[in-house]
Subunit: 352 residues, 2 copies
């Protein structure tokens, strides 16, 4: 057979991001925040010196990391920052899962985990959630090369209690356990304090949801300083300067504004509770959400796929995953009260 450069290509089935329609629609499909970022963020942009952009950004992201350290009460050398939590998680996979044993995570979870495992050629196994979409800690007490838990889980929205998270971490002293807390700010209890007691724990966060900064691509992680050092070594081997100057400045500004953060997350939680009540009345079934989205199955009569398509025709975008066990569900981001009212009206029409 003739050789060709095609033989050397890494072939992957990439993650499919949610649609980003060009025109104005009701966008409840990518778990963005319905409220604008803090006024501190617009201030940081207004005050930014364009001339400074000729220089590389801070290689150690200190402006952002200092602020995160203050806010969370964590030493700066226990914090890592990246271009969204996807970049942070991808670096974690590359750094911590370089062995030959299978990394384990739930069968239904953030759909990037198996994509990263594939692209970096990391062996992995998925472990089924139980019939209520819950993680059973006992399932994670087996030989493995690493553990990844999204808490609350995505796209289910289901939260695992803190003692069960700790049970998994404690049962795996010989593996790095990643707890992906992208949605923790919507009512969950963080595993963050555990980093001081477990040297195998990495807690990952994003500013894309609760900080309303998806457009800025900022994620971060906490962990034992040794783990953070390994992570930085790999980061410096892939791309030394990752977060650009506007991301560092606006990220720090957003973190400073605790009051606004509490205001918007509080509003989203309130709208979520109303949304769940209303969906229940309409006959949707779901397990309670601890996130800024609900994962709900429509009442019989219409399939989730059909409801998804019908909503789209009405310029309301939600997310549907054509995947075993969850193809009967819709993932609906919590928007403003007005956006949710428009959704309810459309759903009434579609389901009737």
């Amino acid at each position: 057979m003739k050789m060709s450069f095609e033989d050397n290509i890494r072939r992957v089935v990439p993650y499919t991001p949610g649609e980003q329609p060009d025109r104005k629609v009701i966008k409840l499909n990518t778990n963005e925040c319905p409220y604008p970022p803090s006024k501190e963020v617009s201030g940081a942009i207004r005050d930014m010196d364009a001339g400074s952009l000729r220089l590389y950004p801070e290689v150690a992201c200190q402006t952002l990391i200092r602020e995160l350290g203050n806010y969370y009460g964590v030493d700066e050398d226990k914090i890592f920052a990246g271009v969204g939590s996807d970049d942070v998680l991808s670096m974690c996979f590359l750094t911590f899962f370089a062995g030959n044993k299978a990394v384990i995570f739930p069968d239904i979870t953030y759909s990037f985990y198996d994509v990263w495992a594939e692209v970096y050629r990391i062996p992995y196994e998925t472990i089924p959630l139980d019939y209520e979409f819950k993680i059973r800690p006992g399932d994670y007490k087996r030989e493995n090369g690493g553990v990844v838990i999204a808490n609350p889980n995505a796209p289910t929205g289901v939260l695992l209690e803190p003692d069960k998270i700790e049970e998994i971490i404690a049962a795996n002293p010989d593996s790095v356990v990643i707890v992906d807390e992208a949605y923790i700010d919507f009512g969950g209890k963080t595993a963050l304090p555990l980093i001081d007691r477990y040297d195998n724990l990495i807690v990952v966060r994003t500013m894309s949801k609760s900080r309303a900064l998806a457009g800025m691509r900022i994620g971060y992680a906490f962990g034992d300083r040794k783990l953070i050092k390994y992570l930085n070594d790999v980061k410096y081997s892939v791309n030394s300067y990752t977060l650009n100057t506007p991301a560092l400045l606006t990220g720090a500004a957003a973190i400073r504004d605790r009051e606004y953060f509490e205001e918007i997350t509080g509003k989203i939680i309130k709208t979520r509770e109303k949304t769940q009540k209303r969906l229940k009345e309409m006959g949707f079934s779901f397990f309670g959400s601890s996130t800024n989205f609900v994962f709900a199955s429509p009442p019989s009569g219409k399939t989730a796929k059909e409801v998804f398509e019908e909503l789209k025709k009405r310029d309301i975008f939600v997310r549907h995953f054509n995947k075993a066990r969850i193809s009967g569900y819709l993932r609906i981001t919590i928007g403003t009260d007005e956006e949710m009212d428009a959704l309810f009206d459309a759903l009434e029409e579609i389901i009737k």
Copy 2:
């Protein structure tokens, strides 16, 4: 032996970026542009709607890629964008060098190439430059899993003639050949037109040097649409949303301003020529630079390391690589005429 998560850690010797001193110094150590970015860039920042940052940035970077397509006269599906050319190159290594044969590049070149090969476990071999720090095309006519050429080369600054670049590309139809043109805008002739004739060619660029946007982290690549598709597949498997909204907007703005680009690159070339003349008078030896830096060896009496240290004491930062064959050289970024005059004064003092 007891198992531990340490066994699964990917251990690397990371690239060491140039120092980024906190205080005001004469900074000639990381090849940044001494002039601010285009006024179009400050305009784009001023006009940016902070509210829009709650939404994810464009997944396909179309705002930037459309502008690049217009500017360079290249179809949009032949263009890829990333978080600096380091991100672009790193994705290229991951995508195109997934085979078992050794990727080849010069022994003296951008020091990230072997770092990426190490982190992604890509076999590689380095090929010595000739005694004039020139690449000999004949050396690249051998079995390989890929070829990487920086042109002009770094940190030498030496340009390879376009016909010799083409000779290497043509000799390797079964390998992807990456031509890293980070410094091409300072007088070199680009290999870009060759992408229409060779389906194995990727040409990589950055906005960190000639566009004065190091702080924004923007790089891009051109190639056959099939190669760009493979690259995007891997990109979407690592991090779907990479360039943030400010990077897309300011990158497009910078590209639009051709006049300013020509003005500042012209000024840098003029200062470089004066700098080379002056260094020659002082007894420095070097091969002619086609970049925004010079790579020069001080006259006998003081070692490059000593001159580097002496300059640092005077708050003038240049770069010294403690590496075989090049430890006798200093890499000096071309600054403003005033900065170079301060450098010359300091060098006169040090060398005397």
